[in-house]
Subunit: 310 residues, 2 copies
């Protein structure tokens, strides 16, 4: 495949994953109660749907689905894991947007959850999505093998928790009010936790679902880490250069807050160079999987992440 065909195939698969994720989330968050539930409160459910449906590139679900596909795993196992991960990503956006955190009114071109509903509902919708993610992964419908499901739960909890996403958000908030900005190493660590951990989990999940060999799991991990770092630098570049309309969220926030990013630390050109290096690291890791052309779609994902305009 030439570059254009590869890019087109990537877009097709990304759209496909987004559609499948949207439909599966819609079904998981349907008003009908589950067997073990007493009821699903209507307004809370509506807010959970608002937060998780109808938006986003669904990059994390795509990564789960495509990394699982590398090992021949398709269908409900990958899709339900993808949905659980997306629920956690979406809950984190709803909480990060709260007045007490980033205080944002706009997300994906729509009012944020606390604007569309109210603060209490936005907090509870986030709590509900976070909790439901573990319900979905632990459910036998995700995979017949209980030990595999519990491995996913553990990996997801670690990626999302105090040593991962939540911890990264705490470090990011602390940096805003700190006397000195974060160093480059601290910024990279904060970003590896805040954004990187969930992206890394997406790829790890494929390896867990597919029963990848230990060496393959290591290579997947390296791919996930490089992809996550590239994603974050691209995000910083977008925030520095982007306009609010294209982003669907407010641009220029980082500079406004005097926040250290790799762009502010290295400058735009060096940040772009670093991003390219990370794409190379990502594709090199994929080559080590020993799965040949099957990894092309994930290599394209790394290039896409680094070059994206929104």
């Amino acid at each position: 495949m030439d570059a254009a065909a590869r890019a087109e195939e990537f877009r097709r698969r990304l759209d496909q994953a987004a559609e499948a994720t949207e439909a599966a989330l819609d079904s998981l968050l349907a008003p009908a109660p589950l067997a073990d539930e007493i009821t699903r409160p209507a307004r809370l459910l509506e807010a959970m749907r608002y937060v998780s449906l109808g938006g986003g590139k669904r990059l994390r679900p795509f990564l789960v689905i495509e990394s699982a596909r590398l090992f021949g795993v398709e269908g409900a196992s990958a899709l339900r894991t993808a949905c659980a991960l997306e629920m956690i990503h979406c809950y984190s956006l709803a909480h990060d947007d709260l007045p007490a955190m980033d205080d944002d009114d706009l997300r994906r071109g729509r009012p944020t959850a606390h604007k569309a509903f109210d603060e209490a509902t936005a907090i509870l919708a986030g709590d509900g999505l976070l909790t439901y993610a573990f319900d979905v992964v632990a459910d036998p419908a995700t995979h017949p093998d209980a030990s595999l499901r519990v491995s996913l739960v553990l990996a997801l909890a670690r990626a999302a928790g105090l040593g991962g996403m939540v911890g990264g958000q705490a470090l990011d908030l602390a940096a805003e009010t700190a006397a000195t900005p974060l160093s480059q190493a601290e910024t990279m660590q904060m970003q590896a936790m805040k954004t990187g951990a969930l992206l890394r989990f997406a790829v790890d999940a494929g390896g867990i679902l597919g029963g990848a060999a230990p060496a393959q799991k290591k290579a997947l991990r390296r791919y996930g880490e490089a992809l996550g770092a590239a994603f974050q630098i691209a995000d910083d570049i977008l925030d520095a250069e982007g306009d609010t309309a294209a982003l669907g969220k407010r641009a220029g926030k980082d500079a406004e807050r005097g926040k250290a990013t790799l762009v502010s630390l290295l400058g735009l050109d060096a940040a772009r160079t670093r991003c390219d290096q990370l794409v190379n690291e990502a594709t090199t890791a994929l080559a080590e999987l020993g799965l040949g052309d099957a990894t092309e779609i994930l290599a394209e994902a790394a290039r896409f992440v680094a070059a994206r305009r929104n």
Copy 2:
């Protein structure tokens, strides 16, 4: 055992469970990073410790530990499950106390988390504890059997989620601004979700850990439901009668907000009678377990819950 000896033995075991839980939570929330974590941000960890350490009767951990003990399960399996449940209980208090929710300044006689820290940190500490609870349960240190661990994860997620605790809190908040107060049936359902679901899980967890027979699991469930309902009525009675100093949190909140409780719906005397009935239901369910005197401590727990003064 006579009534006084039973009550004394119950207090001893409750204190013992509280001490063990405190020590285990302290260790789980130690600053030293776990193997898979990049780091544990100091201020976030401090807030998670503030929210979960140094307070509370630890009734839920006690119920996990004692219901597991019925089936010969002791040690780390029960204690780690107890800690996970307590983390979820404590996170829910921190989020419920937020200005956007119940807006409370006092909890267990101390400033609430958003007062002691700040709102963003209180939200993140709650998110962190909720996430960590699933990490703790899913970890092989909790039990060697992965299918048992994943059963615990699933039961915990359902008890804590939109069909359980989070859903109940959403219904409770909605009722405050609704045109008409909740009916008795609606109030009971809201309470069964908001407070009952976690108490029920505590007892269910003992059955899961102990490999209880299906009929025993059903009897445990009936015990847990009756105990949970008795707990909530006792809570409503305390709020109606209690004083802030003894409660360690503000009393009289329900009436102030015109909130429907079983006390406001039935009156104090009928609420007390209903509470006594529930204690009977709880002890009858225990008798059906076919475990003889071993259940006396849980029967005493039901009596304690109904008669407690704080």
